[in-house]
């Protein structure tokens, strides 16, 4: 997709509260939220990226700061991020990027959001325990200790860098990964929202009885990647980075309880990269039963390594 070029960007408002700075752009007939002043780009295969970066900095130093990522895995195009300086607009910089023949793609960095969680997870977990026949299933399998599950969310409870939640404190199980919120300390995956803690509890909380929160899997390792900030927000490029991080750590299955209302390049790149790496992605379909499905969930009919999960009411079952 080279939709970045077709953007008609309208600067509507700038959110300067807490968390990620955002702006609205007009995209395929609707306004979407993107990271303020950020442009994601990819270089053609075979391009000398160092040479390109050097030239771009020299030519465009007044317009933007450029950074390029190093990936150890896979056959993906080299990619990076441009931070636009004051006085320039996203659409100008996207066009500027495309003026370089080395660039194969340039586009906005779409905001992603956590999916909603119900208030009372205790009752919910008890309900699900019976509904999906987990108790019977555990007679057959409780989880392979050598398997790694990636969880890309808002993090895990930490105090002074140590696991601090009584149900999520087995240091042998949890692999503290990277924080992919732009501007944050990349090594800090403490959960400042609570969403990630809920999700982790369902996948892998300490399960030694039928009471309270239980983990579906009793033994497997869990990689913690932080892609949502304290407001439950992040960017598609952060999600892409998180997927790459988890796969580099050996994750075979990745959970992502969030999404974007619109399809976009980095979201699909992440799914494709997981497919190429033989990794299963399980993602939330969206916040409304029967409503539009978020991305990347909505790619699930195109990718057999992607499972989209919706929620239904018990009285409909």
């Amino acid at each position: 997709m080279t939709i970045g070029k077709k953007f008609a960007v309208l600067l509507m408002c700038i959110t300067v509260l807490f968390g990620i700075e955002k702006e609205l752009v007009y995209y395929n007939g609707i306004y979407i939220e993107v990271a303020k002043g950020e442009v994601v780009f990819k270089l053609k295969n075979g391009v000398d990226s160092k040479e390109f970066i050097k030239r771009f900095k020299k030519d465009q130093g007044k317009v933007a700061e450029i950074s390029i990522k190093k990936f150890k895995l896979g056959n993906t195009n080299k990619r990076g991020l441009v931070k636009i300086k004051n006085g320039f607009q996203i659409n100008e910089v996207i066009d500027l990027m495309y003026s370089y023949e080395e660039v194969i793609y340039a586009g906005v960095n779409v905001i992603i959001r956590k999916s909603i969680i119900p208030d009372d997870d205790y009752a919910t977990s008890q309900y699900a325990l019976n509904t999906i026949d987990l108790k019977s299933a555990w007679e057959f399998e409780k989880g392979d200790p050598s398997l790694i599950i990636g969880v890309l969310d808002s993090g895990i409870p930490l105090q002074n860098g140590s696991l601090s939640h009584s149900d999520l404190n087995n240091a042998n199980r949890y692999i503290l990964g990277k924080n992919r919120i732009v501007g944050a300390d990349t090594l800090d995956v403490a959960d400042d929202d609570g969403h990630g803690t809920h999700v982790l509890g369902i996948i892998g909380a300490m399960t030694d009885n039928d009471e309270g929160v239980f983990g579906t899997n009793w033994n497997s390792k869990i990689y913690i990647g932080k892609v949502f900030d304290e407001n439950g927000e992040g960017t598609e490029e952060g999600f892409f980075d998180g997927v790459c991080d988890a796969i580099a750590e050996g994750a075979k299955i990745i959970n992502f309880s969030g999404g974007s209302p619109v399809p976009h390049e980095s979201l699909e790149d992440a799914v494709q990269f997981a497919a190429d790496s033989g990794v299963l992605l399980v993602v939330a379909a969206g916040n409304t039963s029967g409503g539009d499905v978020d991305y990347p969930a909505a790619y699930s009919n195109q990718y057999d390594n992607l499972i989209s999960v919706s929620a239904t009411k018990s009285d409909e079952g």
Partner: protein, 230 residues
């Protein structure tokens, strides 16, 4: 679904419908159990397993299989790990009977001739630790159904917990070891109802779990009667 195409999705049924954040990690958890049990499975194989063993939440108007509202149905961890696909397209769960005990015998008869067809003796390995009965449909003779008409029958009688499957009944006491009569076109069931009012239905499926026909539906039995349905 939406202009974005028809996303195929699994669902999880729970009492608070406000979010899918809770649902995805359950599926992740079950997927991880399937992967643990089958280390060589590819992502596509795991997805296929979860889809094939999901319980169809909506029967009737949309028919059996994929439907718009519920996708492929509700994930079922037990069936995902046992690979059971039959009956995944009807009602709510696997061919599971509650409160069956080892040593119980189910008997099958030809409906027209009343010739004894076969029996199934419940063994302890058919009963899970959580007290449920799971059966692959094979009789003691090693056969599934009548050779010329290879329909495969399952029957269960549910209890207060809610509907399980082919012979569906509202509040039958779980004493189903008595008599059951089945053949290729009709199902005949007799049982003694101890105290509760009951409704009984019989649905017939083929070997692949595809719905064939409804033999009878919501027939009422009186408390204390010995009920015979033809």
């Amino acid at each position: 679904m939406s202009s974005n195409g028809d996303p195929y999705y699994l669902s999880i049924n729970y009492s608070y419908a406000s979010g899918t954040s809770m649902a995805a990690p359950y599926v992740t958890g079950v997927a991880s159990l399937v992967q643990s049990q089958n280390p060589t499975f590819t992502p596509a194989q795991i997805k296929q397993r979860l889809v094939e063993t999901a319980d169809d939440l909506q029967y009737g108007a949309d028919g059996i299989g994929y439907d718009e509202h519920f996708g492929w149905g509700e994930i079922n961890a037990f069936k995902a790990l046992t690979g059971q696909t039959y009956l995944s397209t009807w009602l709510h769960s696997a061919p599971i009977v509650n409160n069956v005990q080892a040593g119980d015998v189910f008997r099958f008869y030809d409906f027209y001739s009343y010739v004894y067809y076969g029996s199934l003796t419940i063994s302890s390995d058919m009963i899970t630790n959580s007290g449920r009965f799971m059966w692959n449909g094979l009789l003691n003779s090693g056969r599934f159904g009548i050779d010329l008409l290879p329909y495969r029958f399952f029957f269960t009688i549910n209890n207060d917990e809610g509907g399980y499957t082919i012979i569906e009944s509202d509040r039958v006491s779980p004493n189903i070891s008595s008599y059951s009569v089945v053949n290729s076109q009709h199902i005949k069931i007799s049982f003694t109802e101890s105290s509760l009012l009951s409704w009984v239905s019989a649905y017939v499926f083929d070997q692949n779990g595809n719905y064939l026909f409804t033999d009878f539906e919501d027939v009422k039995s009186e408390a204390g009667n010995n009920l015979t349905l033809l």
